[in-house]
């Protein structure tokens, strides 16, 4: 096991030549962000461009995390996906249809939980359920709400008010509310950033379990590199704003079957982690100032962090097919 441990070699990422040719086919795209831009009026009759010409496809059932520094427009991307904001240009296609406004198919888990404080836990979740199934009888609404509350482990707290709950429990209610409407897509805006490390870990486990069980398509924004590694299938790296770009899309080489406590022993973990941190520390800035000559915003480079020798051997030994090295 010791040979798998980190820093065998600094990870250096390079675009995977295979990934470059193997683009996601149209039939694979469940969500397709197509050339969206967001501009705000700035003082002096100018406009500030948060990002423009942003393209990003997502598969059905995929867990995508977006990482970037504050001000790169992550939340704006999420709000556009949710339909809360309209892009200044471009469109978002979900399941073959351009989105217009919000939809019950796309549930949002808000950063600040956004529970209605005058309603109980059950009332908050039932509010979502009754918005989804407007004609449903009261008993059915309650049953569905209770089921969602039980899924996040809050059975027994149905009649508490949000003010009586801890931060972690409030966010669980937020998750239950989002799950209760059987969405096709879950959108999460730094859902755990306000929580302490222990609670955050437990909730990450919950979310991962629920998403794997239900096969949810998830788009999540986070600042936490470890959270992204644990949860995501692919990690989207944004350069610094304004005029942020999708620098690259990192494929997570870790097996789908993950254990949070053993994650840092998994082959490829440190290569991936170092790659992400290197990006946040320096490349998010340097790349914005000078994008590579062959950068194509329609097809941002897809990257697998190159592995250490030991990592590669370990992966080869498992059933996972060995990733190509750059």
């Amino acid at each position: 096991m010791s040979t798998l441990l980190p820093f065998v070699r600094r990870a250096q990422a390079a675009p995977d030549p295979a990934a470059g040719t193997h683009r996601m086919s149209n039939s694979e795209k469940f969500i397709s962000i197509e050339g969206i831009a967001r501009r705000y009026p700035a003082p002096g009759a100018k406009t500030t461009t948060i990002f423009e010409n942003l393209w990003l496809p997502m598969r059905r059932g995929e867990f995508v995390c977006m990482i970037g520094h504050s001000g790169c427009g992550k939340t704006t991307v999420l709000n556009i996906l949710a339909g809360l904001e309209a892009p200044s240009e471009g469109a978002v296609i979900v399941d073959g249809q351009a989105i217009a406004g919000t939809s019950l198919d796309r549930a949002v888990i808000f950063q600040g939980h956004a529970l209605l404080p005058w309603r109980t836990v059950l009332g908050n979740v039932a509010y979502a359920v009754s918005s989804r199934w407007r004609k449903a009888p009261k008993a059915e609404i309650e049953a569905r709400a209770k089921k969602a509350i039980a899924t996040v482990g809050l059975a027994g707290s149905e009649h508490k008010r949000p003010s009586e709950l801890s931060g972690g429990m409030k966010q669980r209610v937020g998750i239950a509310r989002a799950l209760s409407i059987d969405p096709k897509i879950l959108l999460m805006d730094e859902p755990f950033s306000a929580l302490d490390a222990l609670t955050r870990g437990t909730l990450q486990d919950e979310v991962r379990r629920i998403c794997v069980e239900t096969g949810q398509t998830v788009f999540m924004i986070t600042h936490d590199v470890d959270e992204a590694i644990y949860l995501a299938d692919r990690i989207v790296l944004m350069t610094n704003g304004p005029e942020a770009k999708v620098a690259e899309i990192v494929e997570n080489p870790l097996p789908k079957d993950r254990d949070r406590t053993q994650l840092h022993h998994a082959p490829g973990y440190y290569a991936l982690r170092n790659h992400l941190i290197d990006f946040l520390v320096s490349r998010s800035r340097t790349m914005r100032d000078a994008m590579p000559a062959d950068y194509d915003p329609r097809h941002p480079p897809v990257v697998r962090p190159s592995l250490s020798e030991a990592d590669a051997e370990a992966i080869a030994a498992t059933t996972e097919p060995a990733p190509r090295r750059a």
Binding site: G83, V108, F110, L116, W118, A128, S131
Partner: protein, 279 residues
Amino acid sequence: MTRSINLRAGVLSLALLAAILLIWQVAVSGTGKTEAMDPEYAALMGQTATTGKSAMPGPLDVAETMWKHLKDPFYDRGPNDKGIGIQLAYSVGRVALGYGLAVIVAIPVGFLIGMSPLMSRALDPYIQILKPVSPLAWMPLALYTIKDSSLSAIFVIFICSVWPMLINTVFGVASTRKEWLNVARTLEVGPIRRAFTVILPAAAPTILTGMRISIGIAWLVIVAAEMLVGGTGIGYFVWNEWNNLSITNVITSILVIGLVGMVLDQLLARAQRLVTFPE
């Protein structure tokens, strides 16, 4: 600890009351014979001239009058002699009507203005100009157009209660948290359901604050309005007793007006607690 502070506050209150009553009694009581006088002349002149007793009634006089009023508050012996209960009922009735009308107008209009930045800006100058006008300044206009003094009083109550409610409703509605509105939007909640299930509960504490300010102002204004329009009501009663030079009745009315005002305020305070939510 809280019990002891409540107890001490109660004791202090009672001690203050006793001191005030004592000083009052001493201040208005006579000082003895001021000068030698023919007894028949003295009887004509009354105690004020003969013993230096103040014309101001003492606390015992007031207590006696008050007891008399409370014993039989609802008698009616013609237009100038009605029980204090009947007069209060007239005043409370007028306030209820004017205030009720103001609620019906101010809350929906406040919702409209609060939800629309355009309306908010367009109507702001009107509100800013009309709000500081003393409600009694509307009285001549009301008398001229409505041609009924009792209805005019109700109108004056309406116009003075409407502004605090309107302004607070606008503020409460406009400051509904964006994240709560976003929850409603992502759940595809329609505008009417959103108004009742998100904005109204969110703004309710602020609206109730406005309603509480309004009821206080309405109760202040009704006394003055009834002094002007006359006929019935506690304001008219005060003025009538002043014309009768019955200071005892005036003091009694002051106390009763204060008590009713306190009850109205406490009713709204209770309502406010019902809609306030802890965050």
